[in-house]
């Protein structure tokens, strides 16, 4: 009986002392903690960004290692090893957070650089656009100036032409512009042009040369003296004479038509010498836009 009573107590004691005396130098939990610690130690970000947290982790691991060295219970070692593991992980997270914050700052700077680049590119683009616009404006102005000049020239030419027509006492009618060559420009009862007649025809030729699209009809008229046959002939011959003179001065012959009307279409009464002279005339009709000249009504 004594022996049996002793056994459990002795056993318990021996177990107690055995536990304290055969403590291994490590547990799996402690091994893990040591491994985690090495990783954190080798991570330059941890040393740089989380030195305080790393120190706390290091201290916790020291405590766990000390417990193992002192051969404390597995339970104790594991509890300290667990805490060390958590603190090592905390140091790693703290380093990660600091690193991310540095990246944010860096990225902020990068973003500002890109924005600056974009604005510079915009400014250059705007400048190029402005230069192009100015070049276009300058070209447009040059064009406008040229157009104004040519319009001025055109106007001057037109004014000159109007002056010439005015000199010739040209009249605008529905058939075209009519220039009248009076009787004095021919010799009496003859069809040849006098010297003054030639000068007048020269002026008409000048006008025609300026209006290349014009079509010309030369119409001859006489007064009522003499036979109608004779007057028809004379009026036709006078018209031809003017036509020949114009052609001789360079007006293309295809443009010029002739017609003799004799006594028809008088412009005055034929009752006295003065009015008869007025009827003896040649009329040159110009259709300035090239349309054929309508017949007399």
């Amino acid at each position: 009986m004594k022996k049996f009573a002793l056994m459990p107590a002795a056993f318990a004691v021996s177990v107690l002392f055995a536990a304290c005396s055969t403590t291994p130098t490590t547990t799996s939990q402690l091994d893990q903690a040591r491994g985690d610690f090495l990783a954190a130690q080798n991570n330059p970000s941890v040393a740089a960004n989380a030195p305080l947290e790393f120190k706390a982790a290091s201290d916790a691991l020291d405590r766990a290692n000390a417990a193992a060295a002192k051969k404390e219970s597995l339970n104790e070692i594991d509890k300290l090893a667990y805490i060390a593991k958590q603190k090592i992980a905390t140091a790693q997270e703290a380093a990660r957070a600091k690193q991310a914050e540095a990246d944010v700052a860096n990225a902020g700077r990068q973003r500002d650089e890109i924005r600056l680049e974009a604005r510079t590119a915009e400014a250059n683009q705007a400048k190029a656009n402005a230069e192009r616009a100015k070049a276009e404006a300058d070209a447009a102005k040059a064009q406008a100036d040229a157009a104004a000049n040519s319009a001025r020239d055109e106007a001057a030419k037109n004014a000159a032409l109007q002056q010439q027509l005015a000199d010739l006492q040209a009249k605008q009618t529905e058939r075209g512009v009519i220039i009248t060559l009076s009787d004095v420009l021919f010799n009496v009862d003859r069809a040849e042009l006098s010297a003054e007649g030639m000068r007048t025809v020269q002026k008409v030729a000048d006008v025609l040369m300026q209006e290349p699209q014009s079509v010309v009809l030369v119409e001859g008229f006489t007064d009522s003296t003499g036979t109608s046959q004779h007057n028809l002939e004379l009026s036709q011959r006078r018209a031809e004479s003017v036509r020949a003179a114009l052609v001789g001065l360079g007006v293309p012959s295809g443009k010029i038509g002739t017609r003799g009307y004799g006594e028809a279409y008088p412009v005055a009464s034929n009752a006295d010498a003065g009015s008869r002279q007025l009827n003896r005339r040649v009329e040159i009709v110009l259709s300035q836009n090239g349309a054929p000249i309508a017949n007399r009504r």
């Binding site: 002793l6 997270e93 990660r96 990246d103 974009a118």
Partner: protein
């Protein structure tokens, strides 16, 4: 027999007393771990580090229970573990937030760069 039981009892008593703590440090440690859990919660650790937060809360609860039961050693052990868990949870939450912000910013920069390239391409036409 008496000698053995006495020795055994003494050894046991020694073992227990070597590991015994008293009430004040234990209460302080539990208070500290309660603060740590609160701080981690404010940092958003419930969403960003749920496993660590759950472990911390559970251990804090058991530490309170041990404190009430006057098991001061256990209370201290559990409080220490709860604090370590809570600190880890908080630092995980912080690093998650910072990493998300950094990633977003990188994305923004990438988009900005693309836009710049596109603008350069069209302007050269």
């Amino acid at each position: 027999m008496k000698l053995w039981t006495m020795l055994g009892g003494a050894a046991l008593a020694l073992g227990v007393s070597a590991c015994a703590s008293n009430k004040t440090p234990a209460t302080a440690d539990v208070a500290v771990s309660r603060e740590a859990v609160a701080a981690a919660t404010s940092a958003g650790a419930a969403d960003l580090a749920p496993a660590e937060m759950q472990s911390a809360r559970e251990k804090l609860m058991r530490a309170n229970q041990a404190l009430a039961a006057k098991d001061y050693k256990t209370a201290q052990d559990l409080a220490a573990q709860a604090s370590a868990d809570a600190q880890l949870a908080q630092s995980k939450a912080n690093s998650a937030k910072a990493t998300t912000a950094a990633d977003e910013l990188q994305q923004n920069i990438r988009l900005l760069r693309e836009e710049l390239q596109r603008a350069n391409a069209t302007s050269q036409q």
